[in-house]
């Protein structure tokens, strides 16, 4: 279509004013998504709200029916048999597994991005497989292995199992970070008289840190929340999910809700504090300009 510029100019006078349409554009597009997001987040929180609410239930042995509000469950969490012990075990297992898996996985991630070696494809497959293997298979396979090796199941075997399935997740998480790390930075470090070790600790490591922290958090969460693999490999040791599973058969005590709620609230608090500090720092930085 060809329209003469001149003709178009002539139309200018008849062009209607515009503000009304702009208001509409602001309205639906922007708020529609926000409203959806709020609803979605509320939906995600339903079972959490339920869990928190029932941590205040004045229950007896089962915690299914609302029987009234009480703070007792919170005040005497550890009175209920095994809850706290199970929780303690879970924290211990998750911490140790996380440390080991993060160290092993980070090393692999660095090697994968920065070095070309022959078995690269095989290595990648070996790392992908555990993520592609259903937990029942992992749990059952490892359990059989421990059995035939005559290993006594307990904290040790749980940790061994957890490290196994966390490594891959750590590698994926850290790898993305390593790949986005500009090698020129390490070169600049070397150029500025830093020895290889100094380059690693002063440049590579701090720059990977956010990725490593993310990997560690993920690893912790996966370990802390794992039931299936743990169930196959824990022997007599009770972890928090295992406790919940067993307790589910006879009604979960409100103390379990208390623990779960506490973990949740703590996590939220940590994030908020961290973010507020970061925001404050940003603000401070900004104002020095």
């Amino acid at each position: 279509m060809t329209i003469q510029a001149g003709a178009a100019v002539a139309d200018a006078a008849t062009t209607p004013p515009r503000p009304a349409r702009r208001g509409f554009r602001l309205g639906v597009g922007r708020w529609g998504l926000a409203i959806y997001a709020i609803i979605a987040l509320v939906f995600l929180l339903i079972p959490i709200a339920y869990t928190i609410a029932f941590s205040f239930n004045d229950s007896r042995r089962t915690n299914i029916v609302w029987r009234g509000f009480t703070l007792d469950n919170w005040l005497t969490v550890c009175n209920s048999q095994g809850v706290c012990e199970a929780f303690g075990n879970s924290v211990l297992i998750a911490t140790v597994s996380t440390v080991i898996a993060t160290a092993l996985g980070t090393a692999i991630a660095i090697a994968l991005v920065r070095y070309r070696f022959r078995a690269r494809a095989a290595t990648t497959l070996l790392l992908f497989l555990p993520m592609a293997t259903p937990e029942v298979v992992l749990g059952a396979g490892l359990a059989a292995q421990f059995l035939s090796a005559g290993v006594q199941k307990g904290l040790g075997t749980i940790i061994l199992a957890h490290v196994m399935f966390c490594i891959s997740f750590v590698v994926v998480t850290v790898r993305a970070r390593v790949a986005s790390l500009d090698p020129a930075l390490e070169e600049a470090g070397r150029d500025l008289y830093a020895s290889p070790a100094q380059v690693f600790w002063r440049i590579t490591f701090p720059l990977l840190l956010p990725g490593i922290i993310a990997a560690a958090l993920l690893s912790f969460a996966l370990s802390f929340d794992d039931f299936i693999i743990t169930n196959f490999n824990s022997g007599p040791v009770v972890t928090f999910p295992k406790y919940v599973y067993t307790a589910a058969a006879r009604g979960i005590p409100a103390e379990a809700n208390v623990i779960a709620s506490a973990v949740f609230l703590l996590a939220i608090a940590i994030v908020i504090v961290a973010q507020l500090t970061a925001a404050a720092r940003r603000k401070r930085m900004g104002s020095t300009s």
Binding site: R30, L33, A34, Y36, A37, A40, L41, L44, I46, P47, T51, L104, G105, A107, I108, A111, V113, R114, Y115, F117, T123, T124, L126, L127, L129, P130, M131, A132, P134, E135, V136, V137, L138, A140, G141, A144, Q145, S148, V163, M164, I167, S168, V172, R175, A176, A179, A214, A215, L217, F227, P241, Y245, A248, I252, F264, A267, I268, Q275, A278, A279
Partner: protein, 304 residues
């Protein structure tokens, strides 16, 4: 933000690999050895177990090493509906989780970019389910969805659900549970992709006459594909092997049993280890085949 990093977005520029040799070896060796001992070896043992035969005159749960490949025929014959059902449920849950997560991830990753505090908070709420035990939140849903729970009561009050119908123990509740439980695994990788999405591409699309929907399909979505792919994998794979949601003690019933439940029953109740192992191998193989086809077709092969 913490969990953000697990999208397997192809790195922008894989720097030229330098120096081979010892350092790489030392970095790789501990982790790979670990996986060899605690993942590969059990896997091989599992394959061997899957070929075992019952011990002659043995008690329940006693088997001997053999090469009884009929185990595979038997489990496939007996349980093929469960295999199909598992993949069906997992696929449904994956699609639902994707539909649920994408707009949410988009909102958090793109719209909240300018408000880091809100972004972090919203992200925390997405991963919040991680902090409440998987089992507890599933049980919570079970209570919410139970016949005398608020949802059924309300639906029946509005005659949206027949009076004798229920939600728990149905395929609906199992798929619902799977969807819910894996939403964080879907949402986070997509978020990561979108959070890195360079909005200038979207602007360039608009500049080149693509209306918003077209910009979404041709630019935003393809650019976030790595996140979508890793999200769908992180949802589909564990969902296909899950046995908690479909368990009769949680959201399932007898007609919702998935392959994970079959494996669990054979392993834990019937002490039929070869059958459990054979099923595990079948499940894994099926997943690997599906995943590799999917990854090939979605064009994000550099998965890990």
């Amino acid at each position: 933000m913490a969990f953000g990093a697990f999208a397997t977005a192809a790195p922008p520029t894989e720097p030229a690999p330098r120096r081979r040799g010892l350092i790489a070896l030392w970095l790789l060796l501990p982790g790979l050895l670990y996986l060899a001992v605690f993942f590969l070896a059990p896997l091989i043992a599992l394959v061997m177990t899957s070929l075992q035969a019952p011990r002659e005159f043995g008690d329940i749960g006693q088997f001997d090493y053999a090469f009884r490949w009929e185990n595979y025929l038997e489990v496939l014959d007996g349980y093929w509906p469960h295999v199909l059902r598992s993949f069906g449920y997992a696929a449904a849950a994956t699609v639902l989780a994707l539909l649920f997560s994408y707009p949410l991830a988009y909102f958090i990753g793109v719209k909240l970019r300018r408000y880091p505090l809100w972004q972090a908070l919203a992200l925390t709420l997405v991963i919040a389910p991680f902090f409440i035990s998987f089992l507890l939140r599933t049980l919570a849903w079970k209570q919410v969805l139970s016949d005398e729970g608020p949802l059924v009561t309300a639906l029946q009050a509005f005659a949206l659900l027949p009076a004798d119908a229920h939600l728990t123990g149905t395929p609906f509740s199992v798929i619902f549970g799977l969807t819910y439980n894996f939403i964080p695994f879907m949402c986070l990788p997509i978020y990561t992709s979108l959070e890195r999405l360079d909005l200038r591409y979207v602007e360039a699309g608009a500049d080149l006459y693509a209306p918003p929907a077209s910009t979404f399909w041709r630019i935003t979505l393809p650019l976030s594909m790595p996140g979508v792919v890793s999200g769908t994998l992180l949802t589909f794979i564990p969902a296909a092997g899950d046995y908690i949601n479909a368990s009769r003690d949680f959201l399932g019933s007898t007609d919702t049993a998935m392959i994970g439940n079959v494996i669990e029953t054979n392993f834990l109740v019937l002490q039929n280890y070869p059958a459990a192992a054979a099923l595990s191998v079948v499940l894994m193989a099926a997943i690997l085949i599906l995943v590799s086809v999917y990854v090939k077709r979605s064009g994000t092969e550099d998965l890990l």
